[in-house]
C-alpha cells in the first residue's frame, strides 16, 4: 500500500492539506505519515491553529455510529448476482476494509430532501415564523418554501414574490434566500425582497446583506437597495422607501409626497383599490405618518387634511374633491 512516488510530508504539505489544496496522493501520504505518533502530534498542533482561526469551520466529527446495515441493504438491493466475480470479491474486500466504518446516520435520507414547507399567499399577507424564529411577512401572491428544520450550518429558503424578512442573528448559520434571479445572504437583519419575473429588488432596512448571482455580487448596507434585472450587473440605489414594505410594518411615513405615490403605497399594503375622480387630486402633497392605522382610517385622515371626500364601495375607495390644481 505504499505510494510509488515519494511524497515528503512537511509543514507546507500540511498547510496545503488543511486549506483544501492537497492532491489525493498527498492526502494519502499524509495519512500514512500520521501513523507515527510524533508526526501525529505535530500535525494536530498545526491543525488546531487552522481550526482556531475560524471556529465555525473548525473541528468536525464524522459520525460513525450509524446504520452500516442500511448501506448493506442498499447494496443488496442493487446487487446483480455474479457472486464470485472479481468485482464481487473486490467489493467484499472493500467492505471488510471498511468494516470499522459506518455510514452516515442518514444514508437513506441524504438522497431525499428534508421535509419542506411551502406557504403560498394569494389575497392576503401572512406572517411566517421560520424554525429559527426569524419572521417573514409574505405579501400577497408570494411563495416561501423552507425546511421543517434548518440544517446544522445554514438556513436556506426559497422565495418568490414580495416579503419582508426579519432574520434572527446567528453568525454560525448564514441565512440564504434563493430566488430565481439571485441569492441573498445575511447574518441577521431586516430587509424587503421583491421579485417579479427576471427582476429582483432587495431593500435593506437594517444591517447588511450580500446579494449574489453567478456573475456578480454586492453587499447592500442599511438604507440602500439592490436592483437586479436578469443577467445585468447589480445596480445599487442609495435611497430606500420604507413605505414600500408598509404591508409588513404597518408603518407609513410620508414627507411631502404626492398623493399619487401615497395611494400607490396604500394600495400595495392593503387589498384595496383607490380611484381618484380627477388628476388634480394626485398632485396634492402629503406630510403625515401612520402607525398601525387601517387603510380606511388613513384615507379618511388624508381626506380631512386635504379637503377630499372618500367613498367606500366593496374593496374600492373613491376619492373626490377639487384636489390641487395649482401644483404642476
Amino acid at each position: 500500500m505504499k505510494n510509488k512516488i515519494d511524497i515528503v510530508v512537511n509543514d507546507e504539505l500540511i498547510a496545503r492539506y488543511l486549506s483544501g489544496e492537497a492532491q489525493p496522493e498527498e492526502a494519502e501520504a499524509l495519512i500514512d505519515w500520521l501513523e507515527d505518533s510524533v508526526n501525529h502530534k505535530h500535525f494536530e498542533k498545526i491543525q488546531a491553529t487552522w481550526h482556531f482561526t475560524l471556529p465555525s469551520k473548525g473541528k468536525v466529527s464524522f459520525d460513525k455510529d450509524s446504520a452500516w446495515n442500511a448501506l448493506q441493504l442498499d447494496m443488496r438491493s442493487t446487487s446483480k448476482g455474479s457472486s464470485l466475480s472479481l468485482w464481487y470479491r473486490v467489493a467484499a474486500a472493500l467492505i471488510i476494509g471498511l468494516s470499522a466504518v459506518y455510514f452516515g446516520y442518514n444514508l437513506f435520507q441524504w438522497k431525499t430532501v428534508a421535509q419542506q414547507i411551502s406557504v403560498v399567499t394569494q389575497k392576503n399577507t401572512e406572517t411566517v415564523t421560520l424554525p429559527d424564529n426569524s419572521t417573514v411577512v409574505v405579501n400577497r401572491n408570494s411563495t416561501i418554501t423552507y425546511p421543517k428544520g434548518f440544517s446544522k450550518d445554514s438556513r436556506e429558503v426559497n422565495f418568490s414574490g414580495e416579503g419582508f424578512f426579519s432574520v434572527k442573528a446567528d453568525v454560525s448559520k448564514p441565512f440564504v434566500i434563493h430566488t430565481t434571479v439571485a441569492d441573498i445572504k445575511v447574518v441577521g437583519t431586516e430587509f424587503n425582497v421583491s421579485s417579479a419575473g427576471s427582476a429582483l429588488e432587495v431593500n435593506v432596512q437594517e444591517g447588511r446583506v450580500l446579494v449574489y448571482t453567478s456573475t456578480d455580487s454586492v453587499y447592500i448596507e442599511a438604507g440602500h437597495a439592490a436592483l437586479l434585472e436578469a443577467t445585468k450587473p447589480i445596480k445599487i440605489v442609495n435611497t430606500i422607501d420604507a413605505n414600500q414594505w408598509g404591508y409588513a410594518t404597518r408603518k407609513f411615513d410620508f414627507q411631502d409626497v404626492p398623493l399619487a405615490d401615497v395611494f400607490q403605497s396604500i394600495e400595495k399594503a392593503y387589498p384595496y383599490t383607490i380611484q381618484v375622480a380627477n388628476t388634480d387630486i394626485k398632485n396634492c402633497r402629503l406630510t403625515a405618518s401612520f402607525d398601525h392605522v387601517s387603510a380606511r382610517e388613513m384615507l379618511n385622515l388624508i381626506g380631512e387634511t386635504l379637503d377630499l371626500t372618500i367613498q367606500e364601495n366593496d374593496s374600492t375607495f373613491r376619492v373626490e374633491g377639487k384636489g390641487c390644481p395649482w401644483v404642476q
Partner: protein
C-alpha cells in the same frame, strides 16, 4: 482512522462543509458498489477512493457560484484595512484577530483569502498576480506564525 473518516476529512478540507463532505463520500461508496462490475482499479482501493473523492469535490466546487467580483473587491479592502469579512467578525475572538493582524501584509492577505474567503490557491495567485508557490509558502508561513502567537490559547 478509518477510510471513511479520513476520506470525509479530506473532502471537508476541500469543501469546508461537513455535510457535503459526508455526502460526497457516501454517494461515492454507493456508486462504486453499483458500478462494481465495470470498475477498474489500477492501484489500491484507497488511492482509488481518494482520487474519486478529490474529483467529486473539485466538481462540486466548480458548480458553486463564482463570486469573483466580490472577492477581488474584498481583497483590495483587506489590503488597506485589514478588515475581516463581516459574517466572521463577531465570532472571531479578539486574540485571533490580533494574531492575524501581526502577520506581514502579503502573508495576512493570502491567509485571509484562503481561510475566510475560501479561495483556491490558484484563484488567490491569479488575483494577486503571484505564483501558486508563493501562495503556498505564505499560507504555511502564516500558520507557523499563528501557531506561535496562539500557543497559549490553543494548547
Amino acid at each position: 482512522m478509518s477510510h471513511y473518516e479520513s476520506l470525509c476529512r479530506y473532502a471537508y478540507t476541500i469543501l469546508k462543509n461537513a455535510e457535503e463532505a459526508e455526502d460526497v463520500v457516501q454517494s461515492m461508496f454507493v456508486k462504486i458498489w453499483e458500478k462494481r462490475e465495470e470498475l477498474e482499479v489500477k492501484h489500491t482501493i484507497r488511492s482509488y477512493l481518494f482520487k474519486a473523492v478529490y474529483h467529486q469535490c473539485i466538481n462540486l466546487l466548480e458548480h458553486r457560484s463564482v463570486k469573483l467580483k466580490h472577492q477581488v473587491h474584498l481583497a483590495h479592502e483587506m489590503l488597506t484595512e485589514t478588515q475581516l469579512p463581516e459574517p466572521f467578525q463577531h465570532e472571531l475572538e479578539e486574540n485571533i484577530v490580533a494574531a492575524i493582524k501581526t502577520l506581514p501584509d502579503q502573508c495576512r492577505l493570502i491567509f485571509m483569502m484562503s481561510r475566510y474567503e475560501e479561495l483556491r490557491y490558484a484563484e488567490i495567485a491569479a488575483h494577486l498576480k503571484i505564483s501558486v508557490n508563493t501562495v503556498e509558502n505564505q499560507i504555511s508561513k502564516a500558520l507557523k506564525i499563528l501557531r506561535v502567537k496562539l500557543k497559549d490559547v490553543i494548547e
